[in-house]
C-alpha cells in the first residue's frame, strides 16, 4: 500500500484521479463528437438569433462554441485505454439520452419561435437549451456564458449567514478567542451530558479524548487527539452542529473556548492556553500525517480484476464463524407485537363502543387541554427531543422518557441514572406538578442545582405553558 508523500500532492491527485476512476472520462470521449455537433448547433442558433440580439451577449455565446473543440483534444489524450471498457455503459444509456435530447430540441425550437415573434427572450436561453442537448460533462471553460437567467444574486448578509465553514488553513475563521478554563465551563454546561466530563463519552456517544496508540489495535478509539487530522474540523463541527439538538447556539468565543478545552482534554495544550483566530493555525493535531489519498486504483483494483476460478476451486470448505453464536441480531418482537395489536383492533373497537361511559370521561379530560396549545408545545418539544422521548415506545435516552411526567415522582423512573438533586427530591416524595415543571423548565439549574440537564431553559411563559400542555397528552404506559 503506497502512501503519498505530502498533503499538496494528495490534493492534486484527488483532483485528477477522480476522472480516471469514474466512467465520466470515457463516456465523455464517446460523446465528444456530440459535443462538437451541439456546439455547432448552438452557434447556428446564435447566429440565427443575432438579428435581434445585443452584441455583447452574442460574443458570450460564441466563446462557448469555441471552447468545445479545444476541450476535445485534451480529453482525447487521456482516454485511449478506457474507451473500449466504457462502451457498454455509454450504449446502455443512449436511448434515454436520445429521447431527452429530442424533447429539449422541441422545447428549444418552440422558444426560438417565440423569440423571433416577440423579440424579448435572451439569446442566452438558447445556449442553455443547446447545452442541455449535448448532455455532456464539460470542463470548466465550457461552462462560460451558459445561463438560464434564473435565481438572483445573493446579498452579502445572506452569504455571511450561511457560509460558516472553516478549512485547515484557517479560512473562514471569525474573529474571537477562548481559553481552556472558559472552555471547561462551556463544555460542562453543553457537552458533558453526552461526551462525559473528561471527554470519555457516555453510553455510545462519541469519545473526545484519549485513544492514543490505539489505531493499530482492535477497537481503535478515534478522537481529535488520536485520529482527527485537523483542528479546524473540531471548530467547524462544534460550530455547525453542536450542541446536539441546539445547533449553532454557541457564540464564536464559546466555540474557541470549547475547542481549546478539547485540546486540553487531549493533553495537547496546557491549562493556560488560549485559542484565537491568530493562534489557530499554530496548533497541529498529532495524526495529521496519518492519512493518505485513496490508492485502491494502484493495488486492490488490479488485484481484484482477475478472471476468477469457476470449477474445482477448493478441495474442502469449513464454516469458521457463525452469526448465531454472537447472537446480536434484533428480534422481530416489536413487529410481532404490532401485528398482534392490529389483529385485535376490531375486538378493541367493540369493547370501546361498549364502554362509552368511561370514554366520555377521558374525552372531557383531554378536551380541557387547548389543542392549539398542544400543537405549539409539540414545536417547543423539538428543543427537548435530542434527550427526551415521548409517545408509544418511548424509552430513556440521555434524559428519562416523559410519558406521564405530570403527576410522576421526581426522579421516579426506575433504572435511570439521575443526578443527586433528583434523587433527593425523589426520596422526599416530591412530584412533578405543572407549577414545579414550569419552574424547572424556566431555569433548570436554578430550580434543581446540580441537575445533569444541560439546557439553558425556556425563556417565555407561553412556551412553558405550551410544552406543559403537550406533555400532559402523554400518559404513563
Amino acid at each position: 500500500m503506497s502512501k503519498f508523500p505530502n498533503q499538496l500532492a494528495l490534493v492534486a491527485v484527488a483532483a485528477t484521479s477522480v476522472i480516471a476512476l469514474s466512467v465520466g472520462l470515457s463516456e465523455r470521449a464517446a460523446h465528444t463528437a456530440e459535443v462538437a455537433a451541439a456546439a455547432a448547433q448552438a452557434e447556428a442558433d446564435t447566429m440565427a438569433a443575432q438579428a435581434t440580439a445585443p452584441d455583447a451577449e452574442t460574443t458570450e455565446t460564441e466563446e462557448v462554441a469555441d471552447a468545445a473543440p479545444a476541450e476535445t483534444e485534451a480529453v482525447d489524450e487521456g482516454t485511449e485505454d478506457t474507451v473500449a471498457e466504457a462502451t457498454a455503459p455509454a450504449e446502455a444509456e443512449a436511448p434515454a439520452d436520445a429521447a431527452a435530447t429530442e424533447t429539449v430540441t422541441a422545447k428549444a425550437s418552440a422558444e426560438a419561435g417565440d423569440t423571433f415573434e416577440g423579440g424579448t427572450s435572451s439569446p442566452a436561453l438558447f445556449v442553455g437549451a443547446a447545452w442541455a442537448q449535448s448532455h455532456e460533462s464539460p470542463m470548466i471553460g465550457e461552462l462560460d456564458g451558459i445561463s438560464f437567467d434564473l435565481g438572483r444574486e445573493a446579498l452579502d448578509e445572506e452569504v455571511a449567514a450561511w457560509d460558516i465553514d472553516i478549512r485547515p488553513d484557517g479560512a473562514g475563521l471569525p474573529a474571537g478567542s477562548g481559553d481552556v478554563w472558559t472552555g471547561e465551563e462551556v463544555y460542562i454546561d453543553n457537552c458533558a451530558q453526552c461526551h462525559g466530563d473528561f471527554g470519555e463519552g457516555r453510553a455510545r456517544w462519541p469519545v473526545l479524548s484519549g485513544g492514543w496508540d490505539t489505531l493499530e489495535r482492535e477497537d481503535p478509539v478515534k478522537t481529535p487527539g488520536s485520529y482527527w487530522p485537523y483542528l479546524s474540523t473540531v471548530w467547524d463541527y462544534v460550530h455547525r452542529a453542536m450542541p446536539y439538538g441546539q445547533a449553532q447556539s454557541l457564540t464564536d468565543d464559546e466555540v474557541y473556548a470549547v475547542t481549546a478545552y478539547i485540546l486540553y482534554l487531549n493533553n495537547l495544550v496546557e491549562d493556560d492556553f488560549e485559542l484565537s483566530q491568530d493562534t489557530f493555525t499554530e496548533v497541529s493535531l498529532p495524526n495529521e500525517d496519518g492519512f493518505f489519498m485513496d490508492d485502491r486504483a494502484e493495488g486492490e483494483i488490479p488485484a481484484f480484476s482477475e478472471e476468477p476460478c469457476m470449477e474445482d476451486c477448493k478441495d474442502s470448505v469449513e464454516i469458521t464463524m457463525r452469526a448465531s453464536v454472537l447472537d446480536v441480531t434484533p428480534e422481530d418482537e416489536e413487529a410481532e407485537a404490532t401485528e398482534a395489536a392490529a389483529e385485535t383492533t376490531s375486538e378493541t373497537e367493540t369493547q370501546e363502543a361498549a364502554a362509552e361511559t368511561s370514554e366520555t370521561e377521558s374525552t372531557e379530560e383531554v378536551a380541557a387541554v387547548d389543542p392549539a396549545l398542544v400543537e405549539e408545545g409539540e414545536g417547543v418539544f423539538r428543543k427537548c427531543q435530542a434527550c427526551h422521548q415521548v409517545g408509544d415506545g418511548a424509552r430513556n435516552g440521555v434524559g428519562p422518557h416523559l410519558n406521564g411526567v405530570l403527576g410522576r415522582a421526581i426522579g421516579g423512573i426506575e433504572g435511570f441514572r439521575y443526578s443527586g438533586v433528583f434523587e433527593e427530591a425523589n426520596a422526599a416524595g416530591e412530584v412533578w406538578t405543572p407549577k414545579r415543571l414550569g419552574e424547572y423548565l424556566a431555569d433548570p439549574r436554578g430550580a434543581m442545582p446540580g441537575t445533569n440537564m444541560s439546557f439553558a431553559g425556556l425563556r417565555s411563559e407561553d412556551e412553558i405553558a405550551a410544552i406543559t400542555a403537550y406533555l400532559s397528552t402523554f400518559e404513563a404506559q
Binding site: I19, V23, W131, I140, R167, F291, P308, S324, P330, A342
Partner: protein, 424 residues
Amino acid sequence: MDMKFKGKKPSRRSFLTGAAAAGAGSVAATVAKGQTAPDPAITELQDWQVYLGDGVDAAPYGMPSKHERHVVRRTVDWLTADNISSINFTPLHELDGIITPNGVCFERHHSGAAEIDPAEHRLMINGLVDRELVFTMDDLMRFPRENHVYFLECAANTGMEWAGAQLNGCQFTHGMIHNVMYTGIPLKLLLAEAGIKTNAKWVLPEGADAAAMTRSIPMEKALDDCLVAFKMNGEALRAEQGYPVRLVVPGWEGNMWVKWLRRIEVGDKPWHHREETSKYTDLLENGEARRFTWEMDAKSVITNPSPQAPLTHGPGYTVLTGVAWSGRGTIPRVDVTLDGGKSWHQARMSGPSMNKSMHRFYFEFDWDGKPLLLQSRAHDSTGYVQPTKHQLRDWRGENSIYHNNGIQTWYVNENGEAENVEIS
C-alpha cells in the same frame, strides 16, 4: 452519532427459534403435493368473494396490503447512541426487481429528518463563482431536468461484518442501500449559472438540517454526473430522503449525497470536515487511513434465501435471487455458488442494466435438501470482481468500518433455515 461495530447485547431468543417460527408461519400456506382432502381456500367462500371491498378514496395515498405489514425498515438499537442520529435498513429480502419503494428506503440522519417547508427553502451557490446566487424551489423547477436510476449505498453498509459474521439477515448486513429513479437538475447547469472561476477545484454541498452536513466533492465529479434532485420514483423526495431537494452523487458513498441541500460552496481546496476526516476514512491495519475513498466497489448479496427469508418449501425447484451494483459502471455478470465456492455458476441477469444502478440476478436450481453454502460474486463493467472477505482483509485489516464489499456467505441447513457464516 457514533456507530458501534462490535456486538454487545445478546438477544433473548436464539436465532434458530426465530427462523423456525418464520418457517412454521409459512407451512399453512404451503400445500402438500399429495393432498387428498379438498383445499378450503377453494371449496369455501372467502369473505372477499362475498362482501364488497373498500371504495375508491378509502386511502387517498395508498399503502401496501395489510398482509405486507412486516415489510418495513428496521434498525439495530445497539449500533448508535440514540435513534435520531442513527440508521435503519432496507428490507432487501422482501423486495424484487431493482427499484426500492420510497417508503422502505433506508434512513441515515445525523440530526433527525428535517421537516422543511419548500416555500421557505433556498439553495445558495457561493464562493469562487462570478455571481453568488440564491434559488427558490420555483427557480429550480425551471432548469432542464434529467431522469436517472442510481443506487445509494452508505459507505458503512456491511461495516458490522469486518471482524466476522455478526448479523443474521441481509436487511442488516446489506440494507444500507436503495435504488430509485431521480428527477433532478444536472449540478453543472447550476454551477454554470453562477459561473465557476478558473481556480475552482472543489464544491462543498451543505444540508439545511441541524447537522448541516458538509462534504468536499472534486469539481470533476460535480461537472460529471451529479444531480440536484427533487423527485424519487416520480414523487417528491420523502422528508427522510432530503425533501425538498438533495444532492445525487452517482456511484459514490451515500454520505456525500447531502440531503435538504441548502448551499453549494465553490472553493480551491477540500474542507476536511468531520464526515471526511473523523468519519468516512478507512483505517487500515498499520494505523494509517485512506481518505477520499468515494467510489463504491462492486458488490452483491443473495437476498433469497437468507436468514430472514428461509426456504420453506423443502427439496425441489428453488429460486435463488439477489442484487448487485458497482460505483464504476454496470454489472454484466454475477456468479453464484451453492457449495461454498468449490464450483460457481453464472446467474441470470434480469431487468434493465443501467450505469451505477442496482442489478437483479436469479439462479434457479433443484435443491436436494442437503445443506448449502451460498455466495454471490459480482463482476462489474470495468472487469473488477467482488473479492472474498479474506482478500479484502488481506488489504485492509479489520478496522476499516467502511467499504466492506466482501462476498457474503449464507449457510442453509436441511430445514431451509439460513444463517450468516464465514467459511474457509
